[in-house]
Symmetry: C2
Amino acid sequence: MSLTIDDIRAAEQRIKGVAVNTPLVTSRYLNELLDAKVYIKLENLQQIGAFKFRGAYNRLCQLNEEEKKRGVVAFSSGNHAQGIALAAKMLNMKATIVMPSDAPKLKLEGTLRLGAKVVEYDRSTESREDIAVGIAKSVGSILVPAFEDYSIMAGQGTIGIEVADQLRAKKKKLDAYLAPAGGGGLLAGTSVAIRSLIPGAKVYGVEQEGYDDHALSRKAGRRIKIKPQKSTMCDALMATTPGKMTWSINSKTATDFLVVNEDEIAHAVAFAFLRLKVVVEPGGAVALASLLEKRIELAGKTIVIVLSGGNIDGNTFRYCLEKFPNPM
Amino acid sequence: MSLTIDDIRAAEQRIKGVAVNTPLVTSRYLNELLDAKVYIKLENLQQIGAFKFRGAYNRLCQLNEEEKKRGVVAFSSGNHAQGIALAAKMLNMKATIVMPSDAPKLKLEGTLRLGAKVVEYDRSTESREDIAVGIAKSVGSILVPAFEDYSIMAGQGTIGIEVADQLRAKKKKLDAYLAPAGGGGLLAGTSVAIRSLIPGAKVYGVEQEGYDDHALSRKAGRRIKIKPQKSTMCDALMATTPGKMTWSINSKTATDFLVVNEDEIAHAVAFAFLRLKVVVEPGGAVALASLLEKRIELAGKTIVIVLSGGNIDGNTFRYCLEKFPNPM
């Protein structure tokens, strides 16, 4: 089994009118700076402030009535948590989310506000998988993974269909598409859509330094698991190895993987504030950072990047603005 | 002479493909908070980060070749300045902008970057009108006012046409429309469009405390000029009296005028950051602030607000986030 454009088209029908068909915007300032035409997919304006709602809703709305009664359980540092919580609320289901005790307060509160039950765990000593599997077994609820699931990937892939439609409406071709790569679900779903609908475009996954498991896996020719040596602002991109299912797709669809460091990401967050007038979280800003650092050839190209989420707390945002008061 | 929907439709044709048809978005969080359906027109995503480009381009593109050669001069604290600078650049004209020496650095730099010549003046001792008129006379260039001009108002009014189109696409009616009122150009243009296209809707202008010249003028039944007693974060809304031409429209089209204070505005800026994921400047946030403070009846209503600009500097933004770390 794999993921096809038909799966993504079916997901698009399911989330229509429920998820936001997010704007694809451009910026004169950014385009002149890079000598390129950059279109920015604003998934920070998605329900719950991140793309994760797409996959969560596409997965949960396909459960049958008996399954819906059993409720769902998931583990997540925040955006998948909120996506599952909102989808469950809309579908009148119970949701339990296993979250690290150091998850951003904003994401924790958001998950609680959406009516989910939150079980906290210690990232350094406990296994969230074990806790979630234990809950699923004990109460009979359904475990919904964050990316290792074709329905989840298909939901995220709807971004790719929207991008293709939006570019067509603007009569624009596409040279390169860039999206963050954490577990790889967003990249897998959207790369299948982009490859199918715009065959000539290059596709890049972007990661942060120290968590570059996709880039290392590409070099090694097999899935590499890293041992993180340092902290990161990108709480949404802390997976230590590509998903097995997502990698079976991304290893074929991705042209290459790009890596940016924490300062470059903070700069991109500040740039999005000052020049684009949007709020993006660190993990959602890596594709923008890779453009600002000119990690790929830009001159004269038409490029789409996904700003995948905007769930950043005030302290982190203020840190980025203070560190880069005049980003350009 | 006055302003008609036909003038605004003509402006729409002129700015098509040049100005951004900005997104009209909604927020589950905000709607639940207010028990209303609120649609938000994101003019912070407009060219130069504010609606002012619409009117500036509509005015300048109608100049004849001889006039274009003479160049333009304008006075503005920032957004009109940048709007004129960009429109002049696109139309291959020279622009001179008279700006207060205490204008936000971001707006000053933005104006210079767009190739305009900037003449600074001291807000407390000099008259920007006199300086601008002097320049216009001495070099023969054309003075373009920020709001006392039907072409400028018609350009801003295109927001109203877009809103009506966007609501129709969503099959939504409209109960109330709210926009900031500084000189009154945005409100005049859009209120004519909204009154013409959605006759039943109420129309509100929103101002900040201490600069409530529209509200006072409404009460007095004539244009009132205020003497500002205190400072304001809303550099975009510092006019001390309604424009004569804009008031001849707004006095008839506006249902009422609402007033919010500086803390309420800072809270709205922080709310837009945390809950809406967009960057809005204080003067652009007054309509949002008036909703959050429930200045009008909200329950069950469909409401459109304009976030009119996003040109806020990092220090002011950080102040708002620090003052209201958990806005709701």
